[in-house]
């Protein structure tokens, strides 16, 4: 029982309780299914707050550790090892926070096979939590790969017309990276006689040339997940086809698993290799920022636009991480949260309008702000947050990242930071373009089209407001007063940066 009552164990596996309850609810009682899932995710969120209350930010070690021997026969040393520190606490909270929001967003959007949907969704939450909490490489890998499965179903069953293609592509693409990581994990496990991440970091004795290969193997898994240019090809497909809740979680949490992996594993486990790789990663990140921004501008499908914008945004995160100074890394971690909130919210909003119009072609929209003032205003705020307007969350992240990258010793040049700052301009270009095409200008043809079939396009209803307003609160909070968020991670970030052998 002691094992089950560990806070982190509870946090990770509580959604399974929801899964169990769901199994006993008949599939035609859709509302009961929805409320159960929502309840389970809300309780999980509550647990995450409880965990937060017990978390001591000034301690750089892992906290609330749940550590038990798991498989220890025949030279194996695999542990059930969950732990939390400043690098992961925010992502854990983000996951717990976005899950109920995503479930709320499916309330009317998902009408078919509600039970399956909720089951997969809660399973996905378990996987995501586990990824952020696991401190044993084997355990981590299990959670990491496990997230693929429910997400695959979410895209493949409830997605758009090309959902199968997208789901399979998502699955294979991500798996391609992670199996290389599997080899590296095994190598580390054999070499270090343990899979426990803190122990491996403490040993810190991997030879430099091997570090390089291990770094690459881990990076392959994470870079695909992020996705870093040029490994982003699965993302537009997955995002465009995924149902709203899927897109929200995909953009909000799943992509962060990649960047988180870099912080949690690549940097501390392979410090020399990381420093060696920093200029290259920075180059790719910069290309990604500019490329993502430009490609996003040329999109006609709004979801695709947002999807490509993720390539650009996560380029910033990568740039910050490999700046390897406190500003860069802290900014990157905060930017992960920001991107989760902003892009998650963008997908939510796009989903809300899509539910009414059933089209994502921007050209048929136009002038919606007039018809749906509340929706338009919220969209505007979220868009501005996404393009990094000061005073909103995006700016705090992007600014600190660029600041860090500009003075980074590991990247060695500030050209990348300057070029990436150009990405800030381009962000304005594509975000404003999207906002204009949908909400400004003369009334689009879709308005009459929808009217023909019913009441016409309506503004947000109460449920939708409840879904989106919490995100808005954080958008402002982080933008204006990010101190609590930085405080949570600052000591851990400083500790991490201190470990890196920066020239």
């Amino acid at each position: 029982m002691e094992f089950l009552l560990q806070p982190l164990t509870l946090l990770t596996f509580f959604p399974l309780v929801g899964v169990l309850v769901l199994l006993f609810i008949p599939s035609d009682n859709k509302n009961a299914l929805r409320w159960t899932a929502l309840g389970a995710s809300l309780v999980t969120f509550g647990i995450s707050l409880w965990v937060l209350a017990q978390f001591n930010a000034s301690n750089v070690d892992l906290q609330l550790v749940a550590r038990y021997d798991w498989i220890t026969v025949a030279g194996w040393n695999i542990q059930y090892f969950l732990g939390l520190d400043g690098l992961s606490i925010l992502l854990v909270l983000l996951t717990a926070f976005l899950a109920p929001i995503s479930i709320l967003s499916t309330w009317t959007a998902v009408e078919e096979r509600v039970k399956d949907f909720m089951l997969f969704f809660l399973l996905l939450e378990v996987g995501m939590m586990g990824v952020f909490l696991a401190q044993d490489l084997f355990l981590f890998y299990i959670f990491w790969e496990f997230t693929l499965v429910p997400m695959y179903f979410l895209i493949g069953i409830w997605g758009g017309p090309r959902r199968i293609y997208a789901a399979v592509k998502f699955f294979l693409y991500t798996m391609a990276g992670s199996i290389l990581m599997l080899l590296a994990i095994l190598w580390l496990g054999i070499y270090g006689q343990t899979f426990s991440v803190p122990d491996l970091i403490a040993q810190a004795n991997v030879p430099a040339n091997i570090q390089w290969w291990l770094f690459l193997a881990f990076a392959a898994a994470f870079a695909i997940k992020v996705p870093m240019w040029p490994l982003h090809s699965w993302l537009p497909d997955a995002h465009v086809e995924a149902p709203t809740a899927g897109s929200v979680i995909l953009a909000g949490v799943l992509l962060k698993m990649g960047t988180y992996g870099f912080v949690r594993f690549n940097l501390p486990l392979f410090p020399e290799a990381s420093v060696r790789a920093a200029p290259w990663i920075a180059l790719l990140a910069t290309i990604g920022i500019l490329y993502g921004a430009m490609v996003s501008y040329a999109q006609k499908d709004v979801k695709k636009l947002v999807a490509y914008s993720s390539v650009s945004h996560l380029g910033f995160v990568m740039l910050g991480l490999f700046a390897m100074n406190e500003q860069g890394v802290a900014g990157a971690i905060l930017q992960m949260i920001n991107h989760g909130l902003s892009t998650g919210a963008l997908f939510l909003l796009v989903g809300m309008i899509y539910e009414q119009t059933h089209t994502r072609e921007m050209k048929v929209y136009g002038g919606l702000w007039k018809i749906t003032p509340v929706f338009g205003s919220i969209m505007l705020i979220v868009s501005l947050s996404s393009m990094g307007l000061p005073g909103l969350n995006g700016f705090v992240g992007e600014f600190t990242i660029l600041l860090g990258a500009f003075g980074s010793k590991s990247i060695g040049t500030n050209v990348y930071a300057i070029l990436s700052a150009l990405g800030v301009i381009m962000a304005a270009v594509y975000i404003l373009y999207m906002f204009q095409k949908m909400f400004l200008g003369p009334q689009g043809e879709i308005v009459d089209e929808v009217k023909k079939h019913g009441h016409g396009i309506r503004d947000l209803n109460l449920r939708e407001l409840v879904t989106i307003v919490p995100i808005l609160i954080f958008i402002f909070w982080i933008g204006l007063y990010p101190k609590p968020f930085f405080d949570l991670m600052a000591p851990a970030v400083a500790h991490l940066v201190g470990m890196l052998p920066i020239p």
């Binding site: 592509k169 040029p230 090809s233 537009p236 497909d237 490329y291 430009m294 490609v295 996003s296 501008y297 040329a298 999109q299 490509y308 100074n325 406190e326 500003q327 802290a330 900014g331 002038g367 702000w369 007039k370 003032p373 501005l384 307007l389 000061p390 005073g391 700016f395 705090v396 600014f399 600190t400 660029l402 600041l403 500009f406 003075g407 500030n414 930071a417 300057i418 700052a421 150009l422 800030v424 301009i425 304005a428 270009v429 404003l432 373009y433 204009q436 909400f439 400004l440 200008g441 003369p442 009334q443 204006l480 007063y481 990010p482 101190k483 930085f486 600052a490 970030v493 400083a494 940066v497």
Partner: protein, 706 residues
């Protein structure tokens, strides 16, 4: 620290309320505005802005009482990461209070004016919900502008800097579903985007300057930066100041980033007055003044800033001559005047620049608002006319009339539709006249003093080139203002609407009168000999009192008068008739075509920057990312290779054409064997057996040969 540590007595603790007041105002309007009437909404917003003004006054008073020493009012921590320490701290010093007073003062007047203006505008454009939105945006603007001017660090300034950019975007595209004439169009929203994006280009420069600053000085806080700057290689400061200049060029509409400002006239007129004439666009001037200590260290950078301003001043003035839209003329005039200010602060004549900033705020706001009054007057006339016609002709000819209307949309801002408004709109006329004289720099109006100080400083500081450029620009200024006056208010009405134009209501004209008063007496702020403003700003920046140089004053006044005379000669003596081309067109030829078409700068940008950007984006997205990377590499090459490998190479090939295929593959080395195999026909069981044998041969062969 250059300022006193302990919070001094006085009202300094109120500093955050500069921002809170308008924020509270806008929140009230957002939350409860749905139930308010227009009047209440307007009042709430104006009160919020007014509260900000009162706070500004109290702060200024406290500052003066405290001897003018800068005070910083910490409010909250913002970003503390490693060596980066950023706080929300307000700075109250003579420079910031000056700006606060101007912003909130002019801002409040414009709020009040807008109650009347938007009532009319909304009536014409038939969207009542917009009224509330407008005032929310205006309050937001005041809040952002207050952050800009009261921030204690470059980064807080930047927050306001982008914030006002946002408001500018929102308000330019306020009537986002139409163009300036009310037709359904993307034009207004395009103008908004253009403004925001151009400003972002400038912000990029600002950001880079900030990064260099941080890594060179370790701080963004003004005093710390200035202190550290003295010990740093000048190369770094040149880089900082020049990157900052990009920001200035964006926000204050200087070459090469001025192009957004003329388009910004798509916004409602109060917006043009408040944001795009009086306050926001002067932020660049404020920034340079604020960074005076940096600029003073690097004369090269100063020279570049000054030349940028001077060239812009002249360039924009020439374009203003060729414009027909009443607001466009004023827009280019604003660019030109901003050029004056930038040139001034570039030369190190910070007081002169700030002085001109203040007076310009008064008279340009006055001019814009009066122009708005003119436009509404014409709208009313046109409306009146349309109703009258409608009543006269009745049903029978309605269809015809409607089609006629669609063909020829009435543009109430086009000066070619005006004429003779002196009679129908007398109040507006006089107000406009005062603004014009102030702008043209006629003694003793405000513009005279401030412009004169700039010119005098230019000579004194040895910027002769700048002096001449500005003087010529001043000549053009007087000329296009004269042209405007003659075209708008004199002669005969060139359109029926102008003939039926009506004067604007009190709520609009009263604020104008206040502004007119300020435009007349604004010069008193820094009269030669008294130097009130100089003494005031001295607390913050190193300045010197500008001298009054009689020769300069005489020359510039003479130039202005000559220009007005010339404009009378061309436009006033023989007023324009309806349909008649501009009299300058013939004598100036292609030069005038250039002025008319803004020297084709927009087209040039489109050809060089925007077009290629769009095409490259499209190319990257369609060809590279989708067709090549997504479809070809992933779907065809990778996925296809899987299937091909599976289908052809192994399965179908080996299993079904077994022997032949293998025999061919074995080649000449095992010719006899393959010959035997070839002779026998394909048989499946046997091809399986062959496979087994092949395995055996390979393994045993390997083991023997190894």
């Amino acid at each position: 620290m250059l300022f006193s540590e302990a919070t001094p007595s006085g009202f300094f603790f109120l500093a955050p309320w500069l921002v809170f007041a308008p924020v509270i105002g806008l929140l009230i309007n957002i939350i409860f505005g749905g139930r308010f009437s227009e009047k209440v909404i307007g009042t709430v917003a104006s009160l919020a802005s007014g509260a900000s003004f009162i706070v500004s006054v109290l702060l200024a008073w406290s500052l003066a009482a405290g001897g003018g020493h800068a005070v910083s009012v910490p409010f909250a921590e913002w970003m503390h990461i490693g060596s980066l320490e950023l706080d929300w701290t307000f700075r109250v010093d003579s420079l910031s209070t000056t700006m606060m007073l101007v912003v909130s003062g002019v801002g409040t007047l414009i709020h009040i004016y807008a109650i009347g203006y938007m009532h009319e505008d909304v009536r014409f454009k038939n969207d009542l919900g917009r009224f509330r939105r407008f005032f929310v945006f205006l309050n937001l603007f005041i809040a952002a502008m207050m952050i800009l001017v009261s921030g204690d660090s470059y980064l807080m300034l930047f927050v306001g800097w982008e914030g006002v950019g946002l408001c500018s975007f929102l308000l330019i595209g306020f009537w986002y579903e139409m163009d300036t004439l009310g037709r359904p169009s993307w034009a207004n929203s395009n103008a908004g985007n253009k403004a925001f994006i151009t400003n972002r280009v400038g912000d990029f420069g600002f950001l880079i300057a900030g990064f260099i600053m941080f890594w060179a000085f370790g701080s963004f806080q003004f005093d710390e930066v200035f202190e550290a700057a003295r010990t740093v290689a000048p190369g770094i400061i040149v880089a900082i100041t020049l990157f900052m200049l990009i920001g200035v060029a964006g926000k204050s509409a200087q070459i090469p980033l001025y192009v957004w400002l003329p388009d910004a006239m798509a916004g409602p007129t109060p917006v043009s007055a408040l944001i795009h004439a009086a306050t926001m666009v002067t932020a660049g001037v404020y920034l340079v003044t604020r960074s005076a200590e940096l600029y003073m260290l690097v004369p090269q950078a100063q020279y570049i800033v000054a030349m940028t301003g001077a060239v812009t001043a002249l360039f924009a003035a020439t374009i203003a001559v060729g414009q027909y839209d009443i607001k466009k003329v004023l827009a280019y005039s604003t660019i030109s005047q901003l050029g004056f200010m930038v040139a001034a602060v570039g030369m190190g004549a910070f007081v002169a620049g700030m002085f001109h900033l203040v007076t310009h705020a008064f008279f340009k706001a006055l001019l814009f608002l009066s122009a708005g009054s003119v436009i509404l007057g014409l709208e009313r006339g046109h409306h009146h006319l349309a109703h009258a016609q409608h009543d006269d002709h009745g049903k029978g000819r309605k269809g015809k009339k409607d089609s006629h209307h669609e063909d020829e949309v009435f543009d109430p801002g086009d000066m070619r539709n005006m004429g003779g408004l002196r009679k129908t709109m007398p109040v507006t006329f006089w107000l406009y006249m005062i603004g014009t004289l102030a702008l043209a720099g006629i003694f003793p109006f405000a513009g005279f003093w401030s412009k004169d100080e700039i010119l005098a400083d230019a000579l004194k500081e040895g910027f002769t080139g700048v002096y001449w450029l500005l003087s010529i620009a001043a000549f053009f200024t007087a000329f296009y203002m004269g042209r405007q006056i003659w075209m708008v208010f004199f002669g005969e009405a060139r359109h029926e609407a102008a003939a039926h134009a009506e004067e604007s209501p009190r709520v609009m004209t009263v604020p104008l009168m206040v502004l007119a008063f300020l435009s007349v007496v604004g010069g008193a702020l820094n009269l030669p000999g008294m130097h009130t403003l100089t003494l005031w700003l001295e607390h913050t920046i190193e300045v010197h009192a500008g001298e009054f140089v009689m020769s300069v004053a005489v020359i510039s006044t003479l130039l202005a008068l000559a220009a007005i005379l010339l404009s009378w000669f061309i436009y006033g003596r023989d007023p324009l008739k309806a349909g008649q081309p501009d009299p300058l067109k013939k004598p100036l030829g292609f030069l005038f075509t250039g002025m008319e078409n803004k020297w084709f700068v927009d087209e040039g940008y489109f050809a060089i920057v925007i077009g290629p950007f769009k095409r490259i984006s499209q190319f990257l997205a369609d060809v590279i990312d989708w067709r090549f990377w997504h479809d070809f590499v992933h779907d065809t090459v990778i996925a296809g290779a899987y299937n091909w490998f599976s289908n052809i190479a192994l399965n179908r090939y080996a299993d079904q054409q077994g022997i032949d295929a293998f025999a061919n593959w074995l080649g000449s080395a095992t010719k006899s064997l393959s010959a035997t195999m070839r002779r026998v026909q394909n048989g499946f069981v046997r091809s399986y057996a062959l496979s087994v044998l092949l395995g055996v041969v390979l393994i045993v062969g390997y083991l023997i040969l190894k």
